[in-house]
Protein backbone atom coordinates (compact mmCIF):
# COMPACT_ATOMS: atom_id res chain seq x y z
CA UNK A 1 0.00 0.00 0.00
CA UNK A 2 1.25 3.48 -0.90
CA UNK A 3 0.15 6.55 1.06
CA UNK A 4 1.32 9.96 -0.06
CA UNK A 5 0.41 13.10 1.85
CA UNK A 6 1.12 16.77 1.11
CA UNK A 7 4.05 15.84 -1.08
CA UNK A 8 5.98 18.82 -2.41
CA UNK A 9 9.12 18.59 -4.52
CA UNK A 10 11.08 21.52 -5.88
CA UNK A 11 14.32 21.61 -7.86
CA UNK A 12 15.90 24.80 -6.56
CA UNK A 13 13.08 27.35 -6.72
CA UNK A 14 11.14 25.47 -9.38
CA UNK A 15 8.31 23.43 -7.88
CA UNK A 16 7.59 20.17 -9.69
CA UNK A 17 5.10 18.57 -7.31
CA UNK A 18 2.83 21.02 -5.49
CA UNK A 19 1.06 18.99 -2.83
CA UNK A 20 0.18 15.45 -3.87
CA UNK A 21 -2.22 13.42 -1.72
CA UNK A 22 -2.72 9.88 -2.89
CA UNK A 23 -3.58 6.51 -1.46
CA UNK A 24 -3.10 3.32 -3.44
CA UNK A 25 -4.42 0.21 -1.68
CA UNK A 26 -2.64 -3.12 -1.92
CA UNK A 27 -3.46 -4.98 -5.12
CA UNK A 28 -4.56 -1.91 -7.09
CA UNK A 29 -3.10 -1.03 -10.50
CA UNK A 30 -2.89 2.69 -11.15
CA UNK A 31 -2.05 4.39 -14.45
CA UNK A 32 -0.59 7.86 -14.07
CA UNK A 33 -1.02 10.14 -17.07
CA UNK A 34 0.13 13.66 -17.78
CA UNK A 35 2.08 15.77 -20.26
CA UNK A 36 5.87 16.00 -20.21
CA UNK A 37 7.00 17.96 -17.16
CA UNK A 38 3.86 17.15 -15.19
CA UNK A 39 5.93 15.47 -12.47
CA UNK A 40 5.12 11.80 -13.15
CA UNK A 41 8.71 10.60 -13.19
CA UNK A 42 9.61 12.74 -10.18
CA UNK A 43 6.72 11.24 -8.21
CA UNK A 44 7.71 7.68 -9.12
CA UNK A 45 11.37 8.34 -8.30
CA UNK A 46 10.43 9.73 -4.87
CA UNK A 47 8.33 6.65 -4.13
CA UNK A 48 11.25 4.45 -5.26
CA UNK A 49 13.63 6.31 -2.93
CA UNK A 50 15.79 7.60 -5.77
CA UNK A 51 14.87 11.21 -5.14
CA UNK A 52 14.34 13.23 -1.95
CA UNK A 53 11.11 15.08 -1.34
CA UNK A 54 11.07 18.73 -0.25
CA UNK A 55 8.21 18.24 2.21
CA UNK A 56 5.37 15.85 2.91
CA UNK A 57 5.41 12.13 3.49
CA UNK A 58 5.49 8.89 1.53
CA UNK A 59 4.52 5.71 3.36
CA UNK A 60 5.11 2.27 1.90
CA UNK A 61 3.29 -0.43 3.82
CA UNK A 62 3.07 2.04 6.73
CA UNK A 63 6.80 2.87 6.78
CA UNK A 64 8.17 6.29 5.94
CA UNK A 65 10.06 5.79 2.68
CA UNK A 66 12.47 8.68 3.31
CA UNK A 67 13.38 7.68 6.87
CA UNK A 68 13.33 3.88 6.72
CA UNK A 69 16.60 2.05 6.15
CA UNK A 70 17.73 0.27 2.98
CA UNK A 71 15.61 -2.78 3.84
CA UNK A 72 12.47 -0.95 2.69
CA UNK A 73 13.84 -0.89 -0.85
CA UNK A 74 13.12 -4.63 -0.95
CA UNK A 75 9.41 -3.74 -1.16
CA UNK A 76 9.92 -2.03 -4.50
CA UNK A 77 10.47 -3.17 -8.04
CA UNK A 78 11.29 -0.32 -10.40
CA UNK A 79 11.27 -0.15 -14.17
CA UNK A 80 12.46 3.11 -15.65
CA UNK A 81 13.12 4.59 -19.11
CA UNK A 82 16.62 3.12 -18.76
CA UNK A 83 16.63 -0.65 -18.33
CA UNK A 84 18.95 -0.56 -15.25
CA UNK A 85 20.70 -3.71 -16.43
CA UNK A 86 24.21 -4.46 -17.67
CA UNK A 87 24.54 -4.91 -21.41
CA UNK A 88 27.88 -6.72 -21.15
CA UNK A 89 26.39 -9.45 -18.94
CA UNK A 90 24.03 -12.18 -20.09
CA UNK A 91 20.34 -12.15 -19.13
CA UNK A 92 21.02 -14.85 -16.55
CA UNK A 93 24.09 -13.08 -15.12
CA UNK A 94 22.09 -9.86 -14.72
CA UNK A 95 19.36 -11.64 -12.78
CA UNK A 96 21.95 -13.56 -10.77
CA UNK A 97 23.66 -10.30 -9.80
CA UNK A 98 20.45 -8.53 -8.78
CA UNK A 99 19.23 -11.67 -7.01
CA UNK A 100 22.38 -11.60 -4.88
CA UNK A 101 21.88 -7.90 -4.14
CA UNK A 102 18.29 -8.58 -3.00
CA UNK A 103 19.22 -11.87 -1.26
CA UNK A 104 16.51 -13.64 -3.23
CA UNK A 105 15.90 -17.14 -1.80
CA UNK A 106 16.24 -20.18 -4.12
CA UNK A 107 17.87 -17.90 -6.67
CA UNK A 108 18.58 -20.36 -9.52
CA UNK A 109 14.98 -21.59 -9.46
CA UNK A 110 13.61 -18.05 -9.23
CA UNK A 111 15.78 -16.96 -12.20
CA UNK A 112 14.30 -19.83 -14.24
CA UNK A 113 10.76 -18.78 -13.29
CA UNK A 114 11.33 -15.13 -14.15
CA UNK A 115 13.04 -15.86 -17.46
CA UNK A 116 10.09 -18.07 -18.41
CA UNK A 117 7.65 -15.40 -17.31
CA UNK A 118 9.25 -12.66 -19.44
CA UNK A 119 9.80 -15.02 -22.37
CA UNK A 120 13.59 -14.94 -22.35
CA UNK A 121 14.40 -18.47 -21.21
CA UNK A 122 15.78 -19.29 -24.66
CA UNK A 123 18.13 -16.31 -24.58
CA UNK A 124 19.36 -16.68 -21.00
CA UNK A 125 23.00 -17.21 -22.00
CA UNK A 126 23.05 -14.34 -24.50
CA UNK A 127 24.75 -11.06 -23.74
CA UNK A 128 22.18 -8.28 -23.30
CA UNK A 129 23.76 -6.02 -25.90
CA UNK A 130 22.54 -8.46 -28.57
CA UNK A 131 18.90 -8.01 -27.43
CA UNK A 132 16.21 -5.93 -29.13
CA UNK A 133 14.66 -2.97 -27.27
CA UNK A 134 11.59 -5.07 -26.44
CA UNK A 135 13.69 -7.91 -25.04
CA UNK A 136 15.74 -5.51 -22.94
CA UNK A 137 12.54 -4.04 -21.53
CA UNK A 138 11.22 -7.50 -20.70
CA UNK A 139 14.49 -8.32 -18.94
CA UNK A 140 14.24 -5.00 -17.06
CA UNK A 141 10.81 -6.11 -15.84
CA UNK A 142 12.29 -9.48 -14.94
CA UNK A 143 14.94 -7.69 -12.86
CA UNK A 144 12.25 -5.61 -11.15
CA UNK A 145 10.06 -8.61 -10.18
CA UNK A 146 12.89 -11.03 -9.37
CA UNK A 147 12.66 -10.44 -5.62
CA UNK A 148 8.84 -10.57 -5.80
CA UNK A 149 8.20 -7.02 -4.54
CA UNK A 150 4.73 -6.08 -3.28
CA UNK A 151 5.02 -2.69 -5.04
CA UNK A 152 5.92 -2.35 -8.71
CA UNK A 153 6.69 1.08 -10.17
CA UNK A 154 6.87 1.37 -13.95
CA UNK A 155 7.93 4.65 -15.51
CA UNK A 156 6.89 4.64 -19.18
CA UNK A 157 7.84 1.00 -19.73
CA UNK A 158 6.37 1.09 -23.25
CA UNK A 159 8.59 3.92 -24.52
CA UNK A 160 10.31 3.02 -27.78
CA UNK A 161 8.60 -0.34 -28.18
CA UNK A 162 7.02 -1.45 -31.46
CA UNK A 163 3.41 -2.69 -31.47
CA UNK A 164 4.33 -6.35 -31.07
CA UNK A 165 6.68 -5.69 -28.16
CA UNK A 166 4.11 -3.36 -26.57
CA UNK A 167 1.43 -6.08 -26.80
CA UNK A 168 3.77 -8.57 -25.18
CA UNK A 169 4.52 -6.04 -22.45
CA UNK A 170 0.79 -5.42 -21.90
CA UNK A 171 0.17 -9.15 -21.39
CA UNK A 172 3.04 -9.28 -18.95
CA UNK A 173 1.75 -6.26 -17.02
CA UNK A 174 -1.75 -7.74 -16.75
CA UNK A 175 -0.17 -10.88 -15.29
CA UNK A 176 1.98 -8.87 -12.88
CA UNK A 177 -0.94 -6.68 -11.78
CA UNK A 178 -3.03 -9.63 -10.67
CA UNK A 179 -2.98 -10.67 -7.03
CA UNK A 180 -1.86 -8.50 -4.12
CA UNK A 181 0.80 -6.53 -5.96
CA UNK A 182 0.35 -2.77 -6.06
CA UNK A 183 1.36 -1.35 -9.41
CA UNK A 184 1.87 2.28 -10.37
CA UNK A 185 2.56 2.94 -14.03
CA UNK A 186 3.18 6.10 -16.01
CA UNK A 187 2.51 6.17 -19.72
CA UNK A 188 1.65 8.55 -22.56
CA UNK A 189 -0.49 5.89 -24.24
CA UNK A 190 -3.98 6.66 -22.93
CA UNK A 191 -5.76 3.62 -24.39
CA UNK A 192 -3.12 1.16 -23.26
CA UNK A 193 -3.01 2.63 -19.75
CA UNK A 194 -6.80 2.62 -19.34
CA UNK A 195 -7.08 -0.92 -20.64
CA UNK A 196 -4.48 -2.14 -18.23
CA UNK A 197 -5.15 -0.26 -14.95
CA UNK A 198 -7.92 -0.28 -12.33
CA UNK A 199 -7.59 3.43 -11.74
CA UNK A 200 -6.46 6.44 -13.74
CA UNK A 201 -4.84 9.61 -12.48
CA UNK A 202 -3.97 12.71 -14.46
CA UNK A 203 -1.11 14.78 -13.14
CA UNK A 204 -0.60 18.28 -14.48
CA UNK A 205 1.35 21.23 -13.14
CA UNK A 206 2.51 19.16 -10.17
CA UNK A 207 -1.02 18.38 -8.94
CA UNK A 208 -3.47 15.47 -9.34
CA UNK A 209 -6.20 16.91 -11.59
CA UNK A 210 -8.24 13.77 -12.18
CA UNK A 211 -8.67 10.54 -10.27
CA UNK A 212 -11.22 7.85 -11.20
CA UNK A 213 -11.71 4.12 -11.70
CA UNK A 214 -11.01 3.07 -15.28
CA UNK A 215 -14.26 1.06 -15.63
CA UNK A 216 -16.25 3.98 -17.08
CA UNK A 217 -13.50 5.62 -19.08
CA UNK A 218 -13.45 3.59 -22.31
CA UNK A 219 -14.58 4.46 -25.83
CA UNK A 220 -12.72 7.73 -26.21
CA UNK A 221 -14.29 9.17 -23.06
CA UNK A 222 -10.98 9.31 -21.24
CA UNK A 223 -9.24 11.01 -24.16
CA UNK A 224 -11.79 13.83 -23.97
CA UNK A 225 -11.28 14.12 -20.19
CA UNK A 226 -7.52 14.14 -20.67
CA UNK A 227 -7.70 16.86 -23.32
CA UNK A 228 -9.90 19.04 -21.13
CA UNK A 229 -7.70 18.45 -18.08
CA UNK A 230 -4.28 19.18 -19.57
CA UNK A 231 -5.49 21.82 -22.02
CA UNK A 232 -5.31 20.14 -25.42
CA UNK A 233 -3.19 17.37 -26.99
Amino acid sequence: MITISKLIKAFGRRPVLRGIDLEVPAGQSVALFGPNGAGKTTLIRIIAGLSKLSSGQVLLGGQDAQKAGPALRRYIGFVSHSPLIYDSLTAEENLHFFGRMYETPDLPERINQVLEQVGLAGRRKDVVRTFSRGMIQRLAIGRAILHNPPILLLDEPDTGLDQQAADMLRKLLVELGSGDRTVLLTTHNLERGIEWADRALILNGGRVRFDAATGDLGGGHFRRIYTETVGGV
Binding site: R73, S80, L84, Y86, S88, M101, Y102, E103
Partner: protein, 223 residues
Protein backbone atom coordinates in the same frame (compact mmCIF):
# COMPACT_ATOMS: atom_id res chain seq x y z
CA UNK B 1 28.00 -11.41 6.18
CA UNK B 2 25.09 -10.14 4.11
CA UNK B 3 26.94 -6.82 3.64
CA UNK B 4 30.10 -8.59 2.53
CA UNK B 5 28.16 -10.84 0.12
CA UNK B 6 26.71 -7.76 -1.57
CA UNK B 7 30.12 -6.09 -1.80
CA UNK B 8 31.46 -9.25 -3.43
CA UNK B 9 28.46 -9.42 -5.78
CA UNK B 10 29.36 -5.96 -7.10
CA UNK B 11 33.01 -6.95 -7.48
CA UNK B 12 31.94 -10.13 -9.32
CA UNK B 13 29.70 -8.11 -11.63
CA UNK B 14 32.43 -5.56 -12.45
CA UNK B 15 35.12 -8.19 -13.04
CA UNK B 16 32.78 -10.36 -15.11
CA UNK B 17 31.74 -7.42 -17.30
CA UNK B 18 35.35 -6.26 -17.68
CA UNK B 19 36.62 -9.71 -18.64
CA UNK B 20 34.01 -9.73 -21.38
CA UNK B 21 34.47 -6.20 -22.74
CA UNK B 22 38.01 -5.27 -21.63
CA UNK B 23 36.85 -1.65 -21.81
CA UNK B 24 38.79 -0.51 -18.76
CA UNK B 25 41.84 -2.77 -18.59
CA UNK B 26 42.85 -2.40 -22.22
CA UNK B 27 42.92 1.40 -22.10
CA UNK B 28 44.75 1.42 -18.77
CA UNK B 29 47.37 -1.11 -19.89
CA UNK B 30 48.06 0.59 -23.21
CA UNK B 31 48.26 4.00 -21.58
CA UNK B 32 50.60 2.82 -18.79
CA UNK B 33 52.89 1.00 -21.24
CA UNK B 34 53.05 3.92 -23.66
CA UNK B 35 53.72 6.49 -20.97
CA UNK B 36 56.66 4.45 -19.62
CA UNK B 37 58.09 4.11 -23.12
CA UNK B 38 57.70 7.85 -23.76
CA UNK B 39 59.44 8.67 -20.48
CA UNK B 40 62.30 6.40 -21.39
CA UNK B 41 62.82 8.18 -24.73
CA UNK B 42 62.19 11.64 -23.30
CA UNK B 43 64.63 11.44 -20.41
CA UNK B 44 67.24 9.22 -22.06
CA UNK B 45 67.40 7.21 -18.86
CA UNK B 46 70.82 5.78 -18.17
CA UNK B 47 72.25 3.92 -15.22
CA UNK B 48 73.53 7.09 -13.56
CA UNK B 49 70.27 9.03 -13.53
CA UNK B 50 67.58 6.36 -13.73
CA UNK B 51 67.19 6.01 -9.94
CA UNK B 52 66.48 9.73 -9.64
CA UNK B 53 63.68 9.75 -12.18
CA UNK B 54 62.23 6.25 -11.92
CA UNK B 55 60.06 6.75 -8.78
CA UNK B 56 58.35 9.70 -10.47
CA UNK B 57 57.88 7.82 -13.73
CA UNK B 58 56.35 4.88 -11.84
CA UNK B 59 53.81 6.98 -9.94
CA UNK B 60 52.92 9.10 -12.97
CA UNK B 61 52.21 5.95 -15.01
CA UNK B 62 50.10 4.47 -12.20
CA UNK B 63 48.24 7.73 -11.62
CA UNK B 64 47.39 8.51 -15.23
CA UNK B 65 46.48 4.95 -16.12
CA UNK B 66 44.47 4.70 -12.90
CA UNK B 67 42.44 7.80 -13.60
CA UNK B 68 41.29 6.28 -16.90
CA UNK B 69 39.98 3.22 -15.09
CA UNK B 70 38.39 5.19 -12.26
CA UNK B 71 36.59 7.43 -14.71
CA UNK B 72 35.32 4.55 -16.81
CA UNK B 73 34.10 2.52 -13.85
CA UNK B 74 31.33 5.00 -13.00
CA UNK B 75 30.78 6.48 -16.46
CA UNK B 76 29.82 3.02 -17.76
CA UNK B 77 27.33 2.63 -14.88
CA UNK B 78 25.91 6.10 -15.52
CA UNK B 79 25.67 5.85 -19.31
CA UNK B 80 23.89 2.51 -19.16
CA UNK B 81 21.59 3.77 -16.40
CA UNK B 82 22.62 0.84 -14.26
CA UNK B 83 23.85 2.95 -11.32
CA UNK B 84 20.22 3.53 -10.33
CA UNK B 85 19.69 -0.21 -10.35
CA UNK B 86 22.44 -0.44 -7.73
CA UNK B 87 21.03 2.45 -5.71
CA UNK B 88 17.64 0.73 -5.59
CA UNK B 89 19.08 -2.39 -3.99
CA UNK B 90 18.34 -2.96 -0.28
CA UNK B 91 21.89 -2.43 0.86
CA UNK B 92 23.76 0.31 2.68
CA UNK B 93 25.27 2.46 -0.05
CA UNK B 94 28.72 2.14 1.45
CA UNK B 95 28.59 -1.48 0.17
CA UNK B 96 28.31 -0.08 -3.36
CA UNK B 97 31.34 2.11 -2.65
CA UNK B 98 33.42 -0.80 -1.38
CA UNK B 99 32.32 -3.02 -4.26
CA UNK B 100 33.36 -0.43 -6.81
CA UNK B 101 36.56 0.32 -4.85
CA UNK B 102 37.65 -3.33 -4.79
CA UNK B 103 36.90 -3.63 -8.51
CA UNK B 104 38.98 -0.51 -9.23
CA UNK B 105 41.79 -1.80 -7.02
CA UNK B 106 41.87 -5.12 -8.85
CA UNK B 107 42.13 -3.34 -12.20
CA UNK B 108 44.90 -0.99 -11.03
CA UNK B 109 46.78 -3.88 -9.40
CA UNK B 110 46.49 -5.82 -12.68
CA UNK B 111 48.09 -2.89 -14.51
CA UNK B 112 50.84 -2.67 -11.89
CA UNK B 113 51.42 -6.39 -12.21
CA UNK B 114 52.47 -5.82 -15.81
CA UNK B 115 53.93 -2.34 -15.36
CA UNK B 116 56.52 -3.20 -12.69
CA UNK B 117 58.13 -6.12 -14.59
CA UNK B 118 58.05 -4.01 -17.78
CA UNK B 119 59.85 -1.15 -16.05
CA UNK B 120 62.31 -3.58 -14.43
CA UNK B 121 63.26 -4.82 -17.90
CA UNK B 122 63.26 -1.43 -19.61
CA UNK B 123 65.26 0.41 -16.96
CA UNK B 124 67.29 -2.51 -15.65
CA UNK B 125 66.36 -1.69 -12.06
CA UNK B 126 64.81 -4.30 -9.76
CA UNK B 127 61.30 -3.03 -8.91
CA UNK B 128 59.83 -6.25 -7.56
CA UNK B 129 61.20 -6.26 -4.01
CA UNK B 130 58.60 -6.95 -1.28
CA UNK B 131 59.21 -3.55 0.33
CA UNK B 132 58.64 -1.70 -2.93
CA UNK B 133 55.54 -3.76 -3.68
CA UNK B 134 54.20 -2.84 -0.21
CA UNK B 135 54.73 0.88 -0.88
CA UNK B 136 53.04 0.66 -4.27
CA UNK B 137 50.13 -1.33 -2.81
CA UNK B 138 49.57 1.15 0.05
CA UNK B 139 49.73 4.11 -2.33
CA UNK B 140 47.32 2.41 -4.71
CA UNK B 141 44.79 1.75 -1.95
CA UNK B 142 44.75 5.46 -1.01
CA UNK B 143 44.56 6.47 -4.64
CA UNK B 144 41.66 4.13 -5.40
CA UNK B 145 39.85 5.05 -2.16
CA UNK B 146 39.73 8.75 -3.02
CA UNK B 147 39.46 8.13 -6.76
CA UNK B 148 36.37 5.91 -6.44
CA UNK B 149 34.60 8.54 -4.33
CA UNK B 150 35.51 11.40 -6.67
CA UNK B 151 34.62 9.33 -9.75
CA UNK B 152 31.10 8.92 -8.32
CA UNK B 153 31.03 12.66 -7.62
CA UNK B 154 32.24 13.74 -11.04
CA UNK B 155 29.88 11.63 -13.19
CA UNK B 156 27.05 14.12 -12.69
CA UNK B 157 29.16 17.10 -13.74
CA UNK B 158 29.19 18.43 -17.28
CA UNK B 159 32.91 17.91 -18.03
CA UNK B 160 33.03 14.66 -16.08
CA UNK B 161 36.13 13.12 -17.73
CA UNK B 162 38.16 16.27 -17.00
CA UNK B 163 36.62 16.88 -13.61
CA UNK B 164 37.96 13.71 -11.97
CA UNK B 165 41.70 14.51 -12.31
CA UNK B 166 41.04 18.14 -11.37
CA UNK B 167 39.36 17.04 -8.15
CA UNK B 168 41.55 14.05 -7.45
CA UNK B 169 45.14 15.06 -8.07
CA UNK B 170 45.39 17.88 -5.48
CA UNK B 171 44.01 15.55 -2.78
CA UNK B 172 46.49 12.87 -3.84
CA UNK B 173 49.59 14.98 -3.19
CA UNK B 174 50.43 13.27 0.16
CA UNK B 175 50.28 9.84 -1.54
CA UNK B 176 52.51 10.97 -4.41
CA UNK B 177 55.04 12.59 -2.09
CA UNK B 178 55.16 9.58 0.25
CA UNK B 179 55.15 7.10 -2.64
CA UNK B 180 57.92 8.82 -4.59
CA UNK B 181 60.07 9.38 -1.50
CA UNK B 182 59.66 5.80 -0.27
CA UNK B 183 60.40 4.23 -3.67
CA UNK B 184 63.36 6.56 -4.14
CA UNK B 185 64.86 5.58 -0.78
CA UNK B 186 64.31 1.89 -1.46
CA UNK B 187 66.08 2.20 -4.83
CA UNK B 188 68.97 3.89 -2.99
CA UNK B 189 69.34 0.77 -0.88
CA UNK B 190 67.44 1.78 2.27
CA UNK B 191 65.46 -0.88 4.12
CA UNK B 192 61.78 -0.89 5.08
CA UNK B 193 62.74 0.25 8.60
CA UNK B 194 64.40 3.37 7.13
CA UNK B 195 61.23 4.48 5.37
CA UNK B 196 58.77 3.69 8.14
CA UNK B 197 57.74 7.38 8.33
CA UNK B 198 56.52 7.29 4.73
CA UNK B 199 54.80 3.96 5.27
CA UNK B 200 53.00 5.39 8.29
CA UNK B 201 51.88 8.37 6.24
CA UNK B 202 50.47 6.08 3.54
CA UNK B 203 48.68 3.87 6.09
CA UNK B 204 47.19 6.91 7.85
CA UNK B 205 46.07 8.40 4.52
CA UNK B 206 44.45 5.11 3.49
CA UNK B 207 42.61 4.75 6.82
CA UNK B 208 41.37 8.35 6.91
CA UNK B 209 40.14 8.45 3.34
CA UNK B 210 38.57 4.98 3.42
CA UNK B 211 36.57 6.00 6.48
CA UNK B 212 35.66 9.41 5.05
CA UNK B 213 34.63 7.95 1.69
CA UNK B 214 32.49 5.30 3.38
CA UNK B 215 30.61 8.02 5.27
CA UNK B 216 30.33 10.42 2.34
CA UNK B 217 29.39 8.08 -0.50
CA UNK B 218 25.67 8.13 0.28
CA UNK B 219 25.63 11.94 -0.06
CA UNK B 220 27.68 11.83 -3.24
CA UNK B 221 25.28 9.52 -5.09
CA UNK B 222 22.16 11.16 -3.69
CA UNK B 223 20.23 13.27 -6.17
Amino acid sequence: MSYLRKVLAIVWKDVRAELRTKDILSSMLVFAGLSVLIFQFAFDLRADNVRLVLPGVLWIAITFAGVLGLNRSFILEQDRGSLEGLLLAPVDRSAIYFGKLIGNLLFIFAVELLLLPLMTVLFNVWLLSPALLLVVALGTVGYAAVGTLFAALSINTRAREVMLPILLFPVMVPVFVAGVQAVSRLLDGDSLADIVRWIQLLVAYDAIFLAAAMLLFDYVVEE
